[in-house]
Symmetry: C2
Subunit: 269 residues, 2 copies
Amino acid sequence: MRAAFYISDGTAITSEVFGHALLSLFPMEFEHYTIPFVETVEQALETKNKINKSSKRSGEPPLVFHTFVKPEIREIIDSCDAIIYNFLEHFINPLEQQLGVKAKPKAHRTHSIHENSYDFRIDAVNYALANDDGGNISNYEHADVILVGVSRSGKTPTSLYLALQYGIKAANYPFTDDDMDELQIPDFLKKHKKKLFGLTIDAQRLIDIRHNRLSNSKYSSARQCRMEVREVEKLYKKEKIPFLNTTKLSVEEITAKILSETKLQRYKY
Amino acid sequence: MRAAFYISDGTAITSEVFGHALLSLFPMEFEHYTIPFVETVEQALETKNKINKSSKRSGEPPLVFHTFVKPEIREIIDSCDAIIYNFLEHFINPLEQQLGVKAKPKAHRTHSIHENSYDFRIDAVNYALANDDGGNISNYEHADVILVGVSRSGKTPTSLYLALQYGIKAANYPFTDDDMDELQIPDFLKKHKKKLFGLTIDAQRLIDIRHNRLSNSKYSSARQCRMEVREVEKLYKKEKIPFLNTTKLSVEEITAKILSETKLQRYKY
């Protein structure tokens, strides 16, 4: 299998995203290796050694995705027995011309602590945890968004993703069996109605997920799941709560759709 | 301020990472706009309209970062009154030649649900929540890693990030004041010693963080914070637990360093 290396002087997240976006276009499997924090000439030489060994072992030159801008490191990596891809160098010159400003490369640019954004994110994680699953119904005035939906429709992972990635304070409140007789927005949520965002899910997928957690229960029964989904969707439509079916969506996609529909302010870009 | 647009037929996360990595090289501020899920010609025309309006309003052509490969969408975006950057097109041809395989572009490639990886991640999030802050000391045999450290040294956000991004099951256990008299690895952690990873933090930063939560308490006192940090670092060294000072690191950086040091298997790449 062809090896792919993602290397950087920071987390290498940018190199990973860059490499994956490209490799995902090809109907092949790759062996992935990430080497973060290559910050010194010594570390670069060590990395070169690893890459060259991999090349020898497999008989095929590895694909190396990096974003180094420091010349002394870049030269070492570029001299590996590998196919080198660095998207920055293709775009720096045109951008410099366009902006009329010279690039000022610094290490640890993109995924390190920036003033402001860091505390926002940790605060948002703490908020999401304290306000998960209806944990604190008197704290919604601080929420940026309140996700509602039946149990296992994706509220908790989405709340945490909103917090960790964007510093957005997301509470979530579950509609349970007890709410279903005459489902309505609870009083303590009514005054925050503009912050509500509904999640829903196909009944069959919900049955499967709940079955894996608690098989042969009312909670996971087909009848119960179908009823709960039907009732919450009726509520969303009646109350004009924006909502989203999460069945085929990843956490990233659910989050992107919520951000796009609500025009929520991100604290980190 | 110059406007930057990040556009895609999926979450636009790749376009954002691509654009940010480039723009972070320049000592300037930008206005950021993300437009995800541009999947149809109609949506592309709507997006073009937004970009052209922004161009007119500011008198400067916006910078547009995209990763479209579908020709009918790409042509519309490329015809905007804007400076267009698409890193894919620079690399597809060389990669095709290198791999001897034609690229097979699909929409929603990189941040959508892939078989396997999705359930891993949700399971890992549930695991992290159930095993946060020493919540369940009898469940460590399922942990991939167990983060230990004093309160507010970064354990919880890191556990959640490991789960959400990589599907890694991270428990975390806090050393509290009660443990400090004769700090040692608790019995229930001893048999999982190989999974332990320690976090530490500069005492002054810890004082600040704790002071923000609970000012004028023993918990946030300089003396207490200094003592706790000193004791856990002594323990890490004595027991040869790998550890990391999180003071100046983002969650992404802490995670990348843990992955790199422990060689933990990622469930999602």
